[in-house]
């Protein structure tokens, strides 16, 4: 019983960060109709930026966010403006190839600079444990979970009830009509792409303490993120957070009750089953 509770707690905490990763992807998809296959590698980049700042200045990952967040947003704005925007009107496949190329570029760039060994970025809270009855969880996971839900809630409110959020949703629902409202559609798309990468910078700082990183892990994060986004209904942010939890919990249960290897496969299996039963995602698209 304790084992089950432990698995559920672990899965819930990790799953919330999957949700956060997928919110960034969903945000970009919702205004540009663009699936960013470099998402996981940009996430890796965020983690390695934390690592570099720790190596150079002994900055705690949570503190280095003041540098990595604007840096990642700038990278996002640049990538959108100079690479994606020029080919945005062309065939969807072109954009997909571009983001795949970016994934390879980022991955091998990291490999070149940091080498192919596993690295870790410590944090002062890393070894702290939190006891919840019979369940023991690591402090960074608790922080990550609380922050993920906090950010998701803030994003929800921002999109629902501010002009900025309404502008984003209007571009998603009808780009031409949005332009006729005087909304600069290109600018909204660029800023959303930047915000998507900003979310990755935050996610990286939250996940990096104690998590081993390797340049080749980007694709794995992309796939998990993609699964969570699709499961959540692409643009439904409540659905995406829920899907993150489903995937995180299934992974944790699989790892504990089956084996490490099979546990990693559980999310994919769950994904296939849910997609067969509910092809529109857990909740309908918003």
């Amino acid at each position: 019983m304790d084992e089950l509770l432990q698995a559920l707690a672990q899965g819930f905490l990790v799953g919330s960060t999957y949700g956060l990763l997928a919110l960034g992807m969903g945000l970009i998809y919702s205004v540009s109709g663009l699936v960013n296959f470099a998402h996981g590698d940009f996430f890796s980049l965020g983690m390695y930026l934390c690592f570099a700042l720790f190596s150079a200045f002994a900055l705690d990952p949570y503190v280095s966010l003041v540098i990595t967040l604007p840096a990642m947003m700038l990278i996002g704005a640049g990538v959108y403006q100079f690479l994606i925007r020029p080919i945005a009107g062309h065939h969807l496949l072109m954009v997909i190839q571009l983001t795949l190329g970016l994934a390879l570029l980022v991955q091998n760039g990291i490999l070149m600079v940091f080498g192919g060994q596993f690295e870790r970025t410590p944090s002062i809270v890393e070894s702290k444990l939190v006891l919840l009855g019979p369940v023991v969880v690591r402090m960074p996971h608790v922080i990550a979970c609380l922050a993920s839900f906090g950010i998701a809630a803030a994003l929800y409110v921002l999109l629902r009830s501010t002009d900025w959020g309404r502008a984003i949703r209007s571009v998603h629902q009808n780009a031409k009509a949005a332009a006729l409202m005087g909304i600069d559609v290109g600018r909204v798309r660029m800023l959303t792409f930047a915000a998507g990468l900003g979310l990755l910078a935050i996610a990286a700082a939250l996940i990096v303490p104690g998590t081993p990183m390797h340049p080749s892990l980007g694709l794995r994060y992309t796939v998990i993120t993609l699964i969570v986004m699709v499961l959540g209904g692409m643009t439904n942010f409540v659905g995406i957070m829920l899907a993150g939890l489903v995937i995180g919990i299934s992974e944790a249960l699989g790892t504990i009750y089956l084996s490490d290897m099979l546990g990693m496969l559980m999310p994919y299996l769950i994904f296939v089953v849910i997609m067969l039963l509910r092809p529109q995602g857990l909740l309908k698209a918003a």
């Binding site: 002009d163 309404r166 502008a167 949703r169 209007s170 629902q173 009808n174 031409k176 009509a177 949005a178 332009a179 006729l180 409202m181 005087g182 909304i183 600069d184 918003a286």
Partner: protein
């Protein structure tokens, strides 16, 4: 108020509009008529800046706006109510109206403008919290017009507002347009509906295959045989 000189535009080398010259005086209700594919929507989109002009000049209150972004034109009060209404379907009526006034010029007085629109179009008040996609076609047209009015238009351009509406609603839409005109608003009305447009407008242009073939005071345009031929494609 608006002068268009020698406007040519098109997609991928094929001109849809050729050398179009149009003038709209302040406070006038000007009709732009033509059959399908005559280039009416392209023309209005050129004025909004969402389709680029390949040559020619567009002057708004003396200022050359030919190369301005759609955003800058909206801020100058050139507001389009697009064909097919294009309301934001998953947003409420209120959110649609709020977006109408999202531009920098209209935002300070947005709340008053929304009150004005809800008084003018009381149907929208009943539906204020409802998702726009669930409204009837006529109500969506009301909303599209209302959304345009929140933007504080100096020139309101309506692209086929009667398209696909029940006759009762068509009548209502034209009553609203008449009222706006009577209150002094400058209106460009793009329509296929020949008789209604001629009856309600001060001046009319008839487009055929991207060229103005007839223009004049609406009563004269009605009797011009070229008007009919432009419609029938003779």
């Amino acid at each position: 108020m608006l002068e268009v000189h020698g406007l040519t535009a098109g997609y991928g080398g094929n001109p849809v509009l050729e050398d179009v010259r149009i003038e709209i005086g302040r406070g006038k209700l000007v009709g732009l008529l033509g059959a399908n594919n005559a280039g009416k929507s392209t023309f209005i989109n050129c004025l909004s800046g969402v389709v680029p002009a390949s040559s020619g000049r567009i002057l708004f209150e003396g200022e050359d706006i030919t190369r301005l972004s759609p955003k800058s034109r909206v801020e100058r009060g050139i507001i389009q109510v697009p064909e097919g209404r294009l309301v934001f379907p998953d947003m409420s009526v209120r959110e649609n109206l709020l977006l109408g006034g999202v531009n920098a010029t209209a935002r300070p007085r947005r709340a008053e403008r929304i009150d004005y629109v809800l008084d003018l179009l009381p149907r929208l008040k009943e539906r204020i919290g409802q998702a726009a996609g669930t409204l009837s076609g006529g109500e969506q047209q009301m909303l599209a017009i209302g959304r345009g009015l929140v933007a504080e238009p100096r020139l309101l351009m309506l692209d086929e507002p009667s398209l696909g509406l029940a006759p009762r609603f068509v009548q209502y839409v034209f009553e609203i347009i008449d009222k706006l005109h009577a209150d002094g608003l400058t209106v460009l009305l793009v329509e296929q509906n020949l008789n209604l447009t001629l009856r309600h407008s001060d001046y009319c242009y008839v487009l055929e295959r991207g060229r103005v073939v007839v223009e004049g005071v609406s009563a004269h345009v009605k009797d011009d045989p070229r008007t009919k031929s432009a419609y029938l494609g003779l």
